[in-house]
């Protein structure tokens, strides 16, 4: 982006023009967002950020839509970010989470952005943190971030969101899956969606017994049952989110999470830059030696001493 273009973009953003927010997010996605973020960073810091993760098809987008509806009845301005995977072959993506949010498309106080993961592995896109920050700076008060349909190890959302919801559905695995490490560990709130399913009771029991034998801090993860398509259980989920938000403030964990989030962003920006630099210095010739040697050489050529 030209320097004039960036100035105009920042001016339009400050004037509250949605197109400027949209273009600022694109700039971050394209690796050109440093200046825009630097200019707008001070405006952020007021939003509540809730992450929703869980396996493909569990109902994350339907839950997002229901939470947006609830937040709107309370008059909050809402941002939604939904991440879907990019193709490892064509690098294209089909972003389909919006379908469930159609009722909110023309609400000026709801801004929805679909993001492709673009090879990022943690369940988010590389620019999801930037997009969250920009929506916050734009004045959205409640921000929902939906991860890609997660397997077991996409846990990055916990670093970004204040409250992480892990959605599970009945009839998909047994109590051993719940004991494995990974996304079940990052839940502040468990949601059993599709609560009308005959196996819902069993899943609830399994989650409860897993919680009894697992270690957690002062916050014991809550368990809420929903039928997101019918809006059932959403008030209870909202209350659980508010209880968790209150806990974060009272315990002082909110400040700690903010610091962790800052560190997470710094780490991802710095790591991204180093990765790009290293990519240009990889020697695959016979002089390269073993992979550890070659890595040290690549770092040394960048002036990085270990």
């Amino acid at each position: 982006m030209t320097s004039d273009g960036t100035l105009e973009l920042i001016r339009d953003f400050r004037a509250g023009r949605p197109r400027a927010l949209a273009r600022a997010i694109t700039a971050c996605e394209s690796g050109n967002g440093a200046r825009v973020v630097a200019e707008l960073y001070a405006l952020a810091g007021n939003a509540t950020t809730v992450g929703i993760t869980g396996p493909p098809g569990v109902g994350k987008s339907t839950l997002s839509a229901a939470l947006v509806r609830k937040a709107r009845t309370l008059g909050r301005r809402v941002g939604v970010i939904s991440v879907d995977p990019s193709s490892p072959f064509s690098h294209g993506a089909l972003l389909g989470d919006r379908i469930r949010l159609a009722e909110h498309f023309t609400d000026p106080d709801v801004f929805i952005r679909s993001m492709a993961s673009r090879g990022h592995l943690g369940g988010l896109a590389g620019a999801t943190a930037d997009a969250t920050l920009l929506m916050d700076a734009f004045g959205f008060q409640f921000i929902v971030v939906e991860t890609v349909g997660a397997g077991q190890s996409e846990v990055e959302i916990a670093e970004l969101a204040q409250t992480t919801i892990v959605a599970l559905q009945p009839g998909s695995g047994d109590s051993v899956q719940l004991l494995k490490a990974g996304i079940v560990e990052i839940a502040d709130i468990f949601v059993v969606n599709k609560g009308d399913h005959p196996m819902a009771d069993q899943l609830r029991r399994e989650i409860r017994s897993m919680l009894q034998i697992s270690e957690h801090g002062a916050w014991v993860p809550e368990l809420v049952t929903t039928q997101a398509v019918h809006g059932q259980g959403i008030d209870e989920l909202w209350d659980a989110i508010e209880r968790h938000a209150a806990y974060l403030v009272e315990s002082g964990e909110l400040e700690q999470r903010k610091r962790e989030r800052f560190a997470y962003q710094v780490r991802s920006i710095a790591a991204g830059r180093i990765r790009a630099l290293v990519d240009g210095r990889i020697d695959v010739g016979s002089a390269a030696g073993d992979p550890y040697d070659a890595a040290s050489q690549a770092l040394a050529s960048l002036g990085i001493e270990e």
Partner: protein, 137 residues
């Protein structure tokens, strides 16, 4: 990190057939683009708001219901009202040649009729939406 093309593929009006739209969405995806799929029964306002929030380079609208002469102009009107004329607007469906010509005169950039080779559509989108992406980055 390159700027990737982002295209909204939408279905407007009352017909519930989205096979054609899905075939196009898939072809654009396989050509390396990020396709935002809105689902069925979208109004012109919904389509244009989606394109704005998603910072889409193009909108592809599929209409099989016969309502193309009302829906395409309404989308154009919305794009103008929102100051988003830079978004490339194209479409397809069961559209007679005379109507297609009329729509292009109004400002729809291309109208593909059934049987248009997928590659032709992909090439068009890459070329025209690529220009917008270049200007805005």
């Amino acid at each position: 990190m390159a700027r990737r093309l982002r295209i909204v593929v939408a279905k407007a009006g009352l017909d519930g057939h989205d096979r054609g739209a899905k075939v196009i969405a898939r072809a654009l995806r396989d050509a390396g683009m990020e396709v935002i799929y809105t689902g069925l029964f979208q109004t012109p306002e919904q389509i244009v708001q989606t394109a704005i929030q998603e910072d889409a380079d193009g909108i592809g609208l599929s209409i099989l219901s016969g309502a193309h002469m009302t829906l395409f102009p309404l989308v154009l009107e919305q794009l103008r009202a929102q100051g988003a004329e830079d978004v490339v607007f194209f479409g397809g469906g069961t559209i007679p040649p005379d109507d297609a010509a009329a729509l292009k005169k109004m400002g729809v950039q291309e109208v593909f009729t059934p049987g248009a080779p997928l590659q032709e559509i992909v090439d068009f989108v890459e070329r025209e939406c690529g220009k917008r992406a270049l200007l805005s980055s």
